[in-house]
Symmetry: C2
Subunit: 275 residues, 2 copies
């Protein structure tokens, strides 16, 4: 099939209007679809085995020469490809610098049952629990760091941010598709972690030990909370390991994604030393 | 002076229009003024000795009870206080959740000469050089982490982001006022660092040693580059210490603020052990 057979040249086209609607959470939730924009993000989704239902392209905006082979591979898997004029692509793009590729894909939701399978062969599970993170950029950045340390999975509790928000996809640079993400409730997660004997690690200024001084090489779930208020009292009370991140200046806390990244890399360092 | 004597109730008021204009870089540069919004940010600016020329308040939006004492302290130092109606404050606020305080302050610019004085008594300078960072949020987050580790100063080379952008102030949660920031050119900075015998540290995937395996306790400047392309070849070639941040997943790099934070905290850990 030649992608040029369908040329979308009007921003009034219903398919174009539908794409713009998918920026809204309510539309994403009612359709079960979401947007993946950008070559790198789409490549990572495709290589992670995710289905791309339709792909909107604008060859005038391609930055490299690999786009055509990715498009051909997607078409072989059944992706419908539609070509847009530059003004139409400008309308559907979510980015400052569009690179001419925007896909629509079905959402995927994992549960803690899926995590049971995922962790079956892991002697030392390495997880993050994110409670009520509000900013898509922070969630995306946490995913990017999680991918970088080879995290086994991220559990989102009592979510505020929709993981299929375009800004999560963008800030994660496509690692949303490589890091397993489960969405569930806090109670259920606490029970599951206790049952699996996975220790909850929480950062708090009142901890006596610094994060570099405690053993993070065993089965752990690093728990992080909202940008405004930090981790809730419930999670803090249930934490098996409390750690302190040194704060030498006037500010009393780090950005949540920074704090998470520091704990992730300290755990990775200790795990690598053990091997 | 009673702040209630001046009540701004029209969004057409020229002073209100001027505040909105200060969101634009060109207006900030031509007037030498910038915006500081939020109790925490204004408190940090004030306590760091910064002048607040005027303060726009909306008591209906105050979140706590400390606002009045801060306002009184500012008035004693000559700040002009103007009270706004909630609709007017909604117009001037740059935030999702305004807390009823927005200040206008003169910009402050430091040079490498100022840094000479600043570092006079430091046997082991601890600096960051940020080359051409584009996103205000990243620059603000780097400032927040810099404050947290007690960094001596941040040098912005060949700037893309205006450090007085409201999003830098916001993401830094006011640490823009506690971390000394110099703005200059790359050439000049390279010469200055060599002269001061401050070693340039750069992260690159091609380095042989991980960042936790090299000595970062001496006089160092951690150099970080643009979000898209990383550090320029010039800076990479001049680096005295190249380090690798482990990347175990599909992504080939971390967000620039994450990478900077990891290096900052590793340097802090080593410096604390030396003491």
């Amino acid at each position: 099939m030649d992608p040029n057979t369908t040329l979308l040249s009007s921003v009034q086209n219903p398919r174009i209007k539908q794409l713009v609607k998918l920026r809204d959470r309510s539309e994403r939730e009612s359709t079960g679809q979401f947007l993946i924009e950008g070559y790198r993000e789409l490549l990572r989704a495709f290589e992670a085995g995710r289905t791309i239902s339709s792909l909107f392209i604008c060859p005038e905006l391609f930055l490299g020469s690999n786009e055509h082979s990715l498009i051909a591979r997607m078409q072989k898997k059944g992706t419908q490809v539609l070509t847009c004029t530059p003004p139409v692509f400008a309308k559907i793009s979510y980015r400052d610098r569009p690179d001419g590729l925007l896909g629509v894909a079905p959402q995927r939701h994992l549960s803690l049952n899926d995590f049971d399978n995922l962790l079956r062969n892991q002697s030392s599970p390495f997880l993050v629990v994110a409670e009520a993170i509000e900013k898509p950029g922070n969630l995306g950045t946490i995913l990017r760091s999680s991918d970088a340390v080879g995290l086994h999975g991220l559990i989102i509790c009592d979510r505020c941010t929709d993981i299929h928000n375009p800004n999560v996809v963008r800030a994660s640079v496509g690692t949303l598709f490589t890091v397993p993400v489960a969405e569930t409730k806090g109670d259920e997660t606490l029970r599951w972690l206790k049952e699996k004997k996975i220790k909850i690690v929480a950062a708090t200024p009142s901890a006596t030990q610094e994060f570099t001084q405690v053993d993070l090489s065993g089965p752990i779930a690093i728990a992080v909370g909202t940008e405004q208020l930090g981790l809730s009292a419930r999670w803090m009370n249930e934490a098996d390991i409390q750690v302190r991140i040194p704060m030498c200046g006037v500010a009393d806390s780090l950005n949540v994604a920074m704090a998470t990244t520091l704990l992730l890399y300290e755990a990775l360092r200790q795990r690598q030393m053990r091997q």
